[in-house]
Symmetry: C2
Subunit: 335 residues, 2 copies
């Protein structure tokens, strides 16, 4: 069934399409007769008329579509971000189109191209390693863009970010003060700046410490997180660790590490204390509630959408970064 158009309404109501458009969009300054208005609304109603936004988009060059590119929408962290963004976007009349990059620059570029062809009004992206040029090209075209979660050195894009270095530093200090024999940082081998910043924060606290700390590092790739974490933990803390702290730089790493602890019946916090970046529902089922760094997702979404909406309505090249603070949520996983 073909849907009714403004033309159909005009024909049936016996007026011009212009008048219909004015009335339906409630444009002021076109003093149109009350009875004409009423007639138009009636006809629109009986025809079940709904506007074709595609046509409107073509005309005003605004699609009311926002593109969201994350690493993987099935990841807890990103699906929560997506949910928060969805809520905020909807309030401003935008709908979200989503894509997962799988940390792959080529796929990332394909999504950017696709979304740009779909004429999204702006994009919110979690950049992947090696996508600097892709983003730069977009910015050169004055495309409204906001980065989220991550940020790239040398790319002049606005974004909302976490105070990764600072929160890593203070939370590491918190661990140091507990006088562990050994503190293990579990992170990714990566070029992603936000992760490097977490590591730098950790390193800084360790270095500044007056006491002597045995700091170890477990660094894994993205391919086989669980397997690598387990193998490395075996080497670094073994089956029967004592007075040791684990610092996980992401929820995925934490889940992998906690799995190891479970399998080897290592007690938390009696033998090992645990601190992790980011939340995940999984923590709920670990015998000891996990101490974690909570990112203010709702606020992030809010700021990201605001930033983007501003860019859309009034583009200005800027690399304005909004930095939000993580919160350490202290639970029983630390002695």
């Amino acid at each position: 069934m073909k849907r009714a158009s403004i033309k159909d309404i005009a024909r049936i109501a016996g007026v011009s399409v212009a008048t219909v458009s004015y009335v339906l969009n409630k444009k002021e300054g076109h003093r149109i007769g009350e009875d004409t208005k009423k007639k138009i609304f009636e006809v629109a109603e009986t025809l079940n008329y709904t506007p074709n936004r595609i046509a409107r988009s073509l005309q005003n060059n605004k699609s009311k579509l926002l593109g969201l590119i994350v690493a993987d929408i099935s990841n807890d962290f990103y699906s929560s971000i997506a949910r928060n963004l969805e809520n905020k976007a909807l309030k401003l009349g935008y709908t979200l189109i989503i894509g997962s990059s799988d940390e792959n620059a080529e796929k990332f570029e394909k999504l950017i191209d696709l979304f740009s062809q779909q004429q999204v009004d702006g994009m919110i992206v979690a950049p992947v390693a090696g996508c600097e040029d892709i983003l730069q090209k977009l910015l050169d075209r004055n495309y409204p863009l906001v980065t989220i979660d991550r940020y790239l050195k040398g790319v002049n894009a606005p974004g909302v970010i976490l105070n990764n270095r600072e929160i890593a530093e203070t939370t590491t200090q918190f661990l140091i003060d507990k006088k562990f024999d050994k503190i293990v940082y579990v992170g990714y081998e990566t070029k992603l700046q936000h992760l490097l910043d977490r590591q730098k924060g950790f390193e800084a606290s360790v270095k500044d410490s007056t006491s002597d700390i045995d700091a170890k590092y477990i660094m894994v790739g993205l391919e086989n997180i669980s397997g690598e974490v387990h193998a490395e933990m075996e080497k670094v803390i073994g089956k029967n660790p004592k007075n040791t702290a684990l610092y996980f730089s992401s929820n995925k790493l934490a889940v992998a590490g906690l799995e190891y602890l479970i399998k080897n019946s290592i007690k938390v916090p009696q033998q090992v204390s645990v601190l992790a970046f980011d939340e995940t529902e999984a923590y709920k089922l670990f015998p000891a509630e996990i101490t974690y760094i909570k990112q203010p997702l709702e606020e992030m979404a809010d700021e990201a959408i605001k930033l983007l909406d501003f860019q859309i309505s009034d583009y200005t090249a800027t690399s304005k970064k909004i930095t939000l603070s993580g919160d350490l949520i202290i639970k029983k996983s630390i002695k």
Copy 2:
């Protein structure tokens, strides 16, 4: 910066827009001179031309957009579905626009309206209670639509579904054979058919059983799942249950229930055995690996997209349901 249009290319290459369109879309049957083609490609390249899909959409009445409405995109189950759908959709040249209904029929309708105005070519929806009329209206307009995860009685929509009743029946039987003193079904107070089917399957197995089974039911609302589950479990199994089995009809319920077990140091499977519908990463961190019913998400996504794509290219009113089988993944949580 305004993006280049086909018109710009035509002007610079000194040909007509029609020719440009033919060449860039590689339309056959328009034997166009090789040098003209080359010229056009060159100009397109230097202008960084990318097609405006909005304009194309308006012309051929195909937006290449698919709407996905789930209860909540931040829920593990739905974000996994979304991810699988995204992959399949991309392969067919579609992009996904998403919305969360929060189990709210009004919000569901708003999303339907919005997506329909955005001219999505079709929708994949997990219906909410009370949305029968909304979907029926859509179907009356011959809107391509596929339901997923859930299904509504009396609405003539195609969909892909799980064999909820059967899998619930056989898995309950599996529990019954283990001779528990008590079997507790944990479900939702709901009108959602797929959940009722799970319950019916459970009830059927209990009823058919030759042995006498003490079957109990914990039914909770959607408002405060965790709180209600904990309170009811306290009443039904107490702090020190023995030879009891818990049958959770969703992963959310399972997480809530397992939390209760953890908090009360109830041993799985020594005291209580556990079986749950659907996966979630959280199971990984429970001391005993959880036995669960795995839905074939990838296959579901595949079938849903195929069904929808078929409806889009050749609409036929149908209530064709594709039923896929769940798999019981047996782990250590059952004695």
